[in-house]
């Protein structure tokens, strides 16, 4: 696979080293295509453990594809990243109807209650992605509609 093949699904709208903005179709293969980019972002931000950063961004992108855009490839996800002096900020946006993060069951407070709630709602098992993201990133903010999320990681001075 060549470098261009690896990024074939991504439409890059801003390619500055400290500010990248791209669009991608709602397919899980783009998560793999973004791995290399996330590695480079971590290096530029001086983050030694890129694994956790990638895990958090991957979870949000996977949610945008599955729950936001319902895997409809005609709908795009928009991924932006800005490197500031003291922080890394990711913005991930989908074209879905959005959701209310405060109304989503938090399995870290009642894991088995979460299992029952998801079974009752006819959802597949899961629900741990947001817990992981909140434990990895320093800030997780949603817009009112719930289809745009900002992830912030403060950098060590």
């Amino acid at each position: 696979m060549t470098g261009s093949d690896e990024l074939r699904d991504l439409s890059i709208h801003s390619g500055f080293q400290n500010w990248i903005e791209l669009f991608a179709p709602s397919h899980e293969r783009v998560i793999v295509q973004l791995e290399d980019l996330l590695d480079r972002v971590a290096v530029r931000g001086g983050i030694e453990d890129s694994g956790k950063l990638k895990m958090a961004v991957r979870e949000i992108i996977a949610n945008a594809i599955e729950w936001g855009n319902r895997k409809d490839e005609s709908r795009k996800i928009k991924v932006s990243y800005c490197l500031f002096r003291d922080r890394l900020v990711f913005k991930i946006e989908d074209e879905g109807e959005g959701f209310k993060p405060d109304e989503v069951f938090d399995p870290s407070t009642d894991p088995f209650g979460g299992v029952l709630e998801r079974l009752d709602a006819g959802k597949r098992f899961g629900g741990y992605g947001m817990v992981m993201v909140r434990n990895i990133m320093d800030e997780v903010l949603y817009n009112d509609r719930g289809n745009v999320v900002l992830l912030t990681k403060y950098l060590d001075e």
């Binding site: 956790k52 996977a62 399995p107 899961g126 629900g127 741990y128 992605g129 992981m132």
Partner: protein
Amino acid sequence: MPEGRRVTARRHGEVAIFQLRGALDHEAAAEVIEQIKRTFPAGRGRIVLDLSDVTFVRSSGIGGVVQISFDHELRVVGAVGDVKKTFELAEADRILCFVDDIDQALASFEMSG
């Protein structure tokens, strides 16, 4: 574990031991759950989940493991390094029973009667 198979199962008395390879994601967890249903069609069973050959864990896979522990008596073995760390980040380590190896898992079932 035979090449190409993500999940293999074997029995040790009344305990079913499932070994995963590669990614523990939604598909792998769903496959284990299906095999568990076939192994214990009447309901609750004793299960060891061996993650020593797992290289990558997705949150959806963790959800599957938690569901297994909800429905059955579960011991998780072989979770080390990044695999264990992922369970910790999801805070699922607080409710799952991790033990070092299969022998310890089997012994813990015997101790619990």
